[in-house]
Subunit: 296 residues, 4 copies
């Protein structure tokens, strides 16, 4: 299939590459020449603007952009995709943005005759390279089914979350809970250790009790508990504090828009913000435990 | 074996009963006559005071009391157990109290020649009746092994958490995390639903993602998600809000004693306190989601 | 002077009226016909659009709009003020919006040859009617001095806060502190009363001690302490919970934009959000004490 | 008058000295020999135990002890004051402890025929030396009036807060509010400065607006705003972080005992705890602003 791809950053680049490897014809756009160069080398064509991409013969366009402002500008701008796109071309936005913006863009696309899905991902750059991302997809059942094959090239878990915007809802809700749970585990582990327990023993008990959670059993932030977690390698790699901060910002913003309190969510956001302001934004988010450790 | 049992409340009563059913000889004490009557009917002897219990021929004494003040008074008081107990009698305190008090009492017991374990439980009144409690045990390896058989009569999971007091540490650390996670799930679920998602679909996504936790996959607070959770029966039964509040109070108190911050833990305590002050202390703690639901 | 006025709501209406009463010639615009009708009756002319206002002979334009999106649209839109305004016409935006948006609009105005001040107010609808508002003004010293006379018609305190955007900064910083202090007073008062103190005695002590603050000595939220506070009239009138919520939202949004933690500020926002979600958004913000009172 | 004084630390020492200077006869007790030596040099007699103090000819006993455990032990212990005191001797406890403990001890004293006041102070070591402390006094009107003259020797503000325990209530309520306000000011000031305002200008606006409070106008934590505040001398002297932490601990403990939520109070406690755990417990509590400053 002839696919257009917009936004070739750390995530978008490897995703586009997997589409080429699977035999698809790609036309790509990115502001960075070096980003496109790599894809061209792999066989992609390149265009000079979103408008040019829209005017090319692509059947579907996938975008992976940093924030809602970029998504709105690329899709809704005077020189953007919708203004230049013929009806029927399908759209998938894999950017992580707030649900209301996602719905606004999808509604404009629908009006233009372009079925659109929001399909934010989780799984990190590792999952993007390996083609094992999770896609949380919002949009109609039909559009979801049509997109399934292509998304499966880039991901392993393709989950339909309901109508337009719900892919974003699922992502911000899950990641807000993740951000809270990680701090909860950080507090429980440091409290236990401060009171004299062995970290590994405590994690073992929690992981078979009612405190059990992914942040404890798969990604425990206390060094020495899990060999495979970022805590075992100085909190490098993984899911950066500033990315968690971005998602918590989306969660509290979306909550504000619908008048929904998110008390622990907002506090968690502030704690990651404090940690980031101390210069730790590039560390894996589980490093938040360093706010609590007295021995470091 | 001849066992002394002190404190025959909602938990202690059924626990003592299971010991009788297993063929042990029981001598019991409780301030409430009706509580002892039931045990006497089942074959237990009764005594008039902790001192009398200490002076009887029991080989081991198990206590299940409401708070540290009771434990200290019963064990350390002028007319208490230690003042009247001969060396060698073994002690197990299954009360949930702060770790430092547990260590203080255990140290006094050791000085008196009485090996002591702290062994708080989880599993609720249901688990107490069914003999399926989890015991989190602090004390020496030898003492733990000696107590294992008797604890197994009352529980299914008997976990050694390390030295004296660590049973309490494990319990408060786990339950603090549980209290935080439950509010985190409540916020994530209500945020998602306020933004237009179906609760069951959202829970399904969370339960296979990084937000996965016991509070979501086993005890989800949103009505309609799980048939077996308290949310399905109006938040009756289960683990009461005021019990969670007590455990969070122990956690923040223990944290204060060792100068350890527990930021989300303290906020969670205040939120359960708010919910309890509104008259909801008797509801299962997952009812905390009602602080967040706009549709109720 | 010939003044243009945009946005004739609860605040803007009375402000514009005071300008007419002071002898100025007014040309006004508002989407609501009934809002303009009142001003026309008082002697104002009316125009059909922001563009028409810009093309009229006004020497200065004052705007009072609900949110940053409106301000950006009215000033920066294709049919907006700047696109239709000749250089030299001075601009004053009295809307309360985030500082970065205020600076963005002011920079565009400067580029267009139109000196612009941000001048958000405090003092409520009462102050707007009485002409006793406080204006917190951001912009150059010269522009501030030129605007002083006109602002003095509508307000009593005209404070220069520094360069462009700083009027907004001063307002969100002050109001965030106000939102926090009010909850602090609510907690201190209810704690004291729950512990057995008389509310008036407690307030008297606080007001001569280190807890002294405007929320306690001038606007005490506990009923019976001050005859003049909203607490004495069922929390009607005053500064609405939803207005406080809006300002706290601006504060946390601005904080996010500059990576500044505001931990209590964000928590205060969530507490007012909870209170508003329970249907209390129209009550004076000091009614937040009802989240804490067990006797009501 | 012949006065007994118990507890000659940083506060009690200078207070006792002022009583001697005013011509009173003092009999003192402290575990530290060097503490008593200084008073003996000034003319005091010394005794070897609280019991001996009780058995001496004192007409009134004043105590100034670190925590409730000491107060209970000194007053209620088997060898304590009450067990050795004849009826009629009056008692004043100036320790800062939780209100319920204060009431428990006062009730026991009353039963023993000894009228007792709780009279915690504020004003720091400076005020203790200068005799300018504030006394917040709980107890009967008669007892308060009788004690007024002696308290006036040590303090300038002698405030009757109502019945027994209310001196402690007033102190914890005021200081909890103070702890919250200070963090509120820290957040407002750092937010404003991060957004580009001058700290002194911002403080000036806040101090004439609704954010006005003692923490801003008298004790502003931002360096350069006030020459007289601890911020001007590296946060040395003043009211230590660990003392604020103790008072917030008393507030949240008392709140727990009466089931009263104190949400910001508990969060403030955790933030001072975090700051103290980083090694800053000895700095003035206004140094908490360093948790927020990105430029330091």
């Amino acid at each position: 299939m002839h696919i257009g791809f917009l936004g070739l950053g750390n995530m978008g680049g490897p995703m586009a590459l997997n589409l080429i490897k699977a035999g698809h014809q790609l036309t790509v756009f990115d502001l960075s020449q070096s980003a496109t160069a790599q894809l061209v080398e792999a066989g992609a064509q390149t265009v000079a603007s979103p408008a040019a991409l829209a005017q090319s013969e692509v059947e579907i366009i996938i975008s992976m952009l940093p924030a809602a402002a970029h998504v709105k500008s690329v899709y809704l701008g005077a020189d953007g995709l919708l203004a230049n796109l013929k009806a029927g071309v399908r759209l998938i936005d894999s950017s992580t943005i707030d649900p209301l913006s996602a719905r606004e863009v999808a509604a404009a696309a629908a009006k233009n005759g372009n079925p659109m899905l929001d399909a934010p991902v989780s799984g990190g750059t590792g999952g993007a390279a390996a083609g094992t991302l999770t896609f949380m997809v919002g949009g109609s059942q039909t559009d979801f089914e049509q997109a399934h094959e292509i998304l499966s090239v880039m991901g392993k878990n393709i989950v339909h979350c309901g109508a337009s915007g719900n892919g974003q809802v699922a992502k911000v809700a899950n990641n807000m809970l993740l951000g809270i749970s990680m701090i909860g585990v950080a507090e429980a582990m440091t409290l236990g250790v401060s009171l004299g327990m062995d970290a590994k023993v405590l994690a073992g008990i929690i992981n078979t009790s009612s405190g059990r959670c992914w942040s404890s059993d798969t990604y425990n932030p206390f060094p020495g508990v899990l060999d495979t977690a970022p805590a075992a390698r100085g909190y490098s790699g993984g899911f950066g504090t500033d990315l968690m901060l971005k998602d918590l910002g989306l969660a509290s913003e979306a909550a504000k828009q619908v008048g929904q309190p998110v008390i622990l969510g907002a506090l968690a956001q502030q704690l990651y913000q404090s940690f980031s302001a101390q210069g730790n934004g590039g560390l894996d988010f589980s490093a938040i435990i360093n706010l609590y450790r007295k021995d470091t």
